[in-house]
């Protein structure tokens, strides 16, 4: 009965996703302009539109799933990769990589490993702090501190670096979906699949840890192992996305909460799938806005996600105070 209700909602989300994929592939225009007869438009499609759409889907899913995992692990609806400073970790390492010497995108593996390494390191910081803080709010503040601490280091590096490299880094920092080549997509897909399989194979511990770590332990779950798996996969999701698309804020925080309010469940399988769909929808939607306004104004991806995400989070906080149900 209830399962049926979730299925319907998942299907609605999927339909929404499909229509946005088509709209986005079409360059966010209502006029049908798929045309493979000329080589030009075929190249336009294959080299520019397709990778951009695929990147939006992969990045949106990754960041949203990472947010969901953080919220489940820390039992805190306001957790997310950017607010906990995990994205900052990626940024810092990418900054090291870009500005302190090596050229951006010279090798796919280098940038990915820089992104993942930074995310992993900062996830471990947060995990360490989470053992010692009593109030979850404190953890969020520590995450923000990590963020501003890293920003300062990045600024120091920026001051030392040449203009050209600084520009590369700054463009990356705005966040964008159009700097991924079609050849890089399989790599992102591979890491995404890897992290996703890791999580799916721990779906039972994940569904139990919803009750809190102590209760999960009393139900026979190996909590340390579960925590480790969650942190590793969050780092992969966040690190890869951040490396390729820049630090995308608010998606990881807003999307899982939106999904939870819509689905009203704690079933992690449903939340994972729905977060992936809605995350993709959200990022495609944001990118469609960018495409639509392209001729008038150039909006960085990060600005759009924040413009929509920040008011949503404020609304969420107010709702939490009124209903105390989040």
């Amino acid at each position: 009965m209830t399962m049926q209700k979730y299925k319907l909602k998942i299907m609605i989300a999927f339909a929404l996703l499909l229509s946005l994929i088509f709209f986005h592939l079409n360059g966010a225009e209502f006029n049908w302009n798929f045309n493979f007869e000329t080589t030009d438009s075929s190249i336009l499609f294959k080299e520019i539109r397709l990778p951009r759409t695929l990147t939006a889907i992969l990045a949106g899913s990754s960041i949203s799933i990472a947010g969901l995992l953080m919220q489940t692990l820390f039992k805190n609806p306001l957790a997310g990769p950017s607010i906990l400073g995990i994205t900052s970790g990626s940024s810092l390492f990418v900054a090291f990589y870009t500005m302190a010497g090596i050229q951006l995108f010279s090798s796919n593996w280098d940038i990915i490993s820089a992104g993942i390494l930074g995310a992993l390191l900062f996830s471990i910081f947060i995990l360490f702090f989470s053992k010692y803080v009593r109030q979850q709010t404190t953890l969020l503040i520590i995450g923000m501190m990590l963020g501003s601490f890293t920003n300062s280091i990045i600024q120091v590096i920026e001051n030392q670096t040449v203009a050209e490299k600084l520009q590369t880094y700054n463009f990356w920092g705005f966040g964008s979906l159009q700097h991924v080549y079609i050849e890089q997509i399989p790599l992102i897909l591979l890491t995404f699949t890897l992290a996703f399989l890791m999580i799916i194979s721990h779906i039972k511990p994940l569904n139990t840890i919803v009750l809190g770590e102590t209760s999960a332990q009393h139900l026979g779950i190996q909590v340390n192992k579960t925590r480790f798996v969650i942190i590793i996969s969050t780092a992969i999701f966040t690190g890869v996305t951040t490396a390729f698309c820049g630090p995308i804020s608010f998606v990881g925080l807003a999307v899982p909460n939106l999904v939870k309010i819509w689905f009203r469940t704690t079933n992690q399988t449903i939340l994972l799938i729905a977060s992936a769909f809605i995350g993709s929808v959200f990022l495609l939607f944001c990118d469609c806005i960018i495409l639509c306004l392209e001729d008038i104004v150039q909006i960085p991806l990060n600005s759009i996600t924040s413009l929509i995400g920040a008011p949503f989070v404020v609304w969420l906080l107010l709702k939490k105070r009124i209903h105390d149900n989040l």
């Binding site: 609806p77 039972k204 569904n207 139990t208 009750l211 102590t214 332990q217 139900l219 009203r264």
Partner: protein, 254 residues
């Protein structure tokens, strides 16, 4: 049967010890002692959350430290003093988590699991709460579904850490009576740490008393008509003195 042998419990320094105590199924035990005397630490040690500093605990003739986590979850269930509820988690889903140690790799409930859940729900009469979200329940209702979850976990032993602390007198009575019923009719061992001595006396005769002076746990029998003072004498010596010699003030209240 749970047996403790020359046990010392604590984190770094021992805060509590006992010579030899055995608990048997089918009985209700109340653990009493001052705040900070080590009731929770003792329960955590029995759950295997923290290792004893010395001594041995055996559960069903097996040393506790050698039992696999999943196996342990089929032997002992734990009910914390307060469950705050989890957003969007319904009572049924919460109770169903008790079946986790028995479910397959993906955690799907089998028909047998569902039967056991229904049986537990019927026993505690919480059927009317099943579709409600756990955050919307009262403290009393949440404690009831916590106990139902422990029943669904289908373990011979249930440990409860001050389950009555946040309840009104009526719910306290209800809970003790339910636990006494569980231990008798389901042949389980229920070990409850509590400060509600007057309520517990109505249902329980086995007391584990933590003495203030010696920091030792001893098993005492109190008949149903023994007075509070008899129990205070063992576990709350200062309160006993205060209540029996009201003229001077042995408690240094200042």
């Amino acid at each position: 049967m749970i047996t403790c042998n020359s046990l010392k419990v604590g984190y770094i320094d021992p805060i509590l010890q006992c010579e030899q105590i055995s608990f048997t199924t089918g009985e209700l035990y109340c653990l009493i002692g001052k705040n900070g005397a080590g009731k929770s630490t003792f329960l955590k040690t029995l759950m295997g959350d923290i290792a004893p500093l010395s001594g041995k605990i055996t559960i069903a003739n097996r040393p506790l430290s050698l039992i696999e986590p999943n196996e342990k979850a089929k032997l002992i269930a734990f009910v914390p003093s307060k469950f705050d509820g989890i957003p969007f988690l319904t009572s049924y889903e919460f109770i169903a988590k008790g079946r986790i140690p028995y479910t397959n790799f993906f955690g799907n409930l089998s028909l047998k699991d569902k039967e056991i859940i229904n049986e537990a729900v019927e026993f505690t009469k919480v059927g009317y709460l099943l579709d409600k979200e756990t955050t919307l329940l009262s403290d009393g209702e949440r404690q009831l579904i916590s106990i139902t979850r422990a029943l669904a976990q289908d373990t011979p032993y249930i440990l409860l850490d001050e389950p009555t602390s946040f309840l009104d007198p009526e719910n306290k009575l209800k809970l003790f009576s339910l636990l006494s019923k569980i231990s008798k009719s389901k042949n389980k061992l229920c070990l409850i740490s509590t400060h509600d001595i007057e309520f517990s006396k109505l249902f329980c005769t086995n007391y584990l008393v933590i003495s203030q002076k010696t920091k030792t746990i001893t098993l005492e029998k109190f008949s149903n008509n023994s007075s509070n003072l008899d129990i205070y004498k063992k576990g709350f010596e200062e309160a006993y003195l205060f209540l029996t010699q009201r003229t001077d003030n042995p408690l240094d209240f200042g």
